[in-house]
Subunit: 243 residues, 2 copies
């Protein structure tokens, strides 16, 4: 039975898993879960995707699994064609990759997903954003980008002193990519100081060519739609202010 990957390309961790499968030539079926329409809350997906209702999730034979890092580790360990640099066997290298993956949850992911969700996605869906939560998310994001630049990318092209990408690079790069949904001004204000981070994104993109661009196409289409909507909302606000 072919590996099934349940996800949506608007989700950062879904993108990481999809790119990983493609670059490693893992035979899989992609099943799009309409998270934007709440399909992951339906009873049928609850049974498939675990009661946590998270994406991405995989079904690999008898194993149903969610949490993208657990999925990436499982795929690296169970599919023999995966190049060893994605999840090195060397104990110290592997330990560092676990450390980066764990760090990611409470720092980069919390900051980036928190900022994009609270400043862009919720307001676009009519839910007013809480300025304190937006400020807090941006602070966490900036601290995380600084650590990415000065600690994880201190020595080499890839995270943790590696010359080739690991699953940590893929996960964290897809996370940073969601900042493309911010306004052009915010994007450059936030990312410009981090030259190594910007170069690293290009290196991950290049190492996973052409799949990084292919899987991120949906994000850039969303970017256009979001920026148009934001411009319309901003226009309406200005008109209201004049009235």
């Amino acid at each position: 039975m072919v590996l099934k990957v349940y996800g949506h390309r608007i989700s950062e961790p879904s993108r990481a898993v999809l790119i990983f499968c493609k670059i490693n030539r893992i035979d899989f079926e992609e099943i799009q879960v309409e998270v934007l329409k709440g399909q992951h809350f339906s009873p049928e997906y609850r049974a498939i995707l675990s009661p946590m209702r998270q994406i991405p999730a995989i079904v690999d034979g008898h194993l149903k699994l969610f949490e993208s890092h657990a999925i990436l580790i499982h795929l690296s360990s169970s599919f023999p064609g995966v190049a060893s640099h994605w999840y090195p066997v060397d104990p110290s290298k592997r330990a560092k990759i676990h450390s980066i993956l764990d760090w990611h949850h409470s720092y980069l992911r919390r900051g980036a997903a928190g900022l994009v969700s609270n400043s862009i996605l919720l307001p676009l869906n009519g839910i007013p954003s809480n300025p304190n939560i937006v400020i807090q998310a941006e602070e966490i994001l900036l601290r995380s980008l600084s650590k990415l630049e000065n600690v994880w990318l201190k020595d080499e092209r890839f995270l943790g002193g590696n010359t080739q990408p690991s699953i940590a690079d893929l996960s964290l790069a897809c996370e940073v990519m969601q900042l493309e949904l911010l306004s052009d001004e915010d994007y450059h204000r936030i990312l410009s100081p981090y030259k190594k981070v910007k170069k690293w994104i290009e290196d991950v993109r290049s190492a996973t060519k052409p799949y990084f661009d292919e899987i991120h196409e949906y994000l850039f289409e969303s970017q256009k739609g979001i920026r148009e909507k934001m411009a319309t909302q901003s226009g309406k606000k200005k008109v209201r202010a004049k009235i």
Copy 2:
């Protein structure tokens, strides 16, 4: 060179690593980092503990490592005396443990540490708590306890359908234990509905006897001190209100 464990027994992940080393008879030196006095921000600890300034951290030969889950995985994989149930070799079992460990970061840890820190520790240090953040943390905690009860502990005594404890049990149990710092009333209000969670804590305690109690002694001493301080502060507020 003996394994060095840098941490503090007030920290949940430090306690998990210390109990793990003791129950598995790993020879180690415990080095207390005075986090309550900000010692982890000092330049000397920055060099040892990585620029992330996190505890726990270990030094194992040439390897410096932080993030408790990465540490627990490394110790399970590198020290031959560790019983296999802590980090099973079976791919499906191991994948489930990674899934629980990853889930923990954004749910149980965020809820429990967020609530205790914002409702107890910050106010005791003169920093007023933000009611919105406290409410949000409690909501995340309650949702996480419900998932713990109904998903992770659905089938067996230990998390993810295991009959013996894994590193996930140790990490998550130490996390829940910090709720002992709440007032007696809040503790029972929050935990009472979760019978399986309460029994599971007892099972983890029993499986790691006598080290679970030994390492948690500091927490219970802190509990006494905190409750006395809270009572004094509450008394002062009542006096002020009368004046």
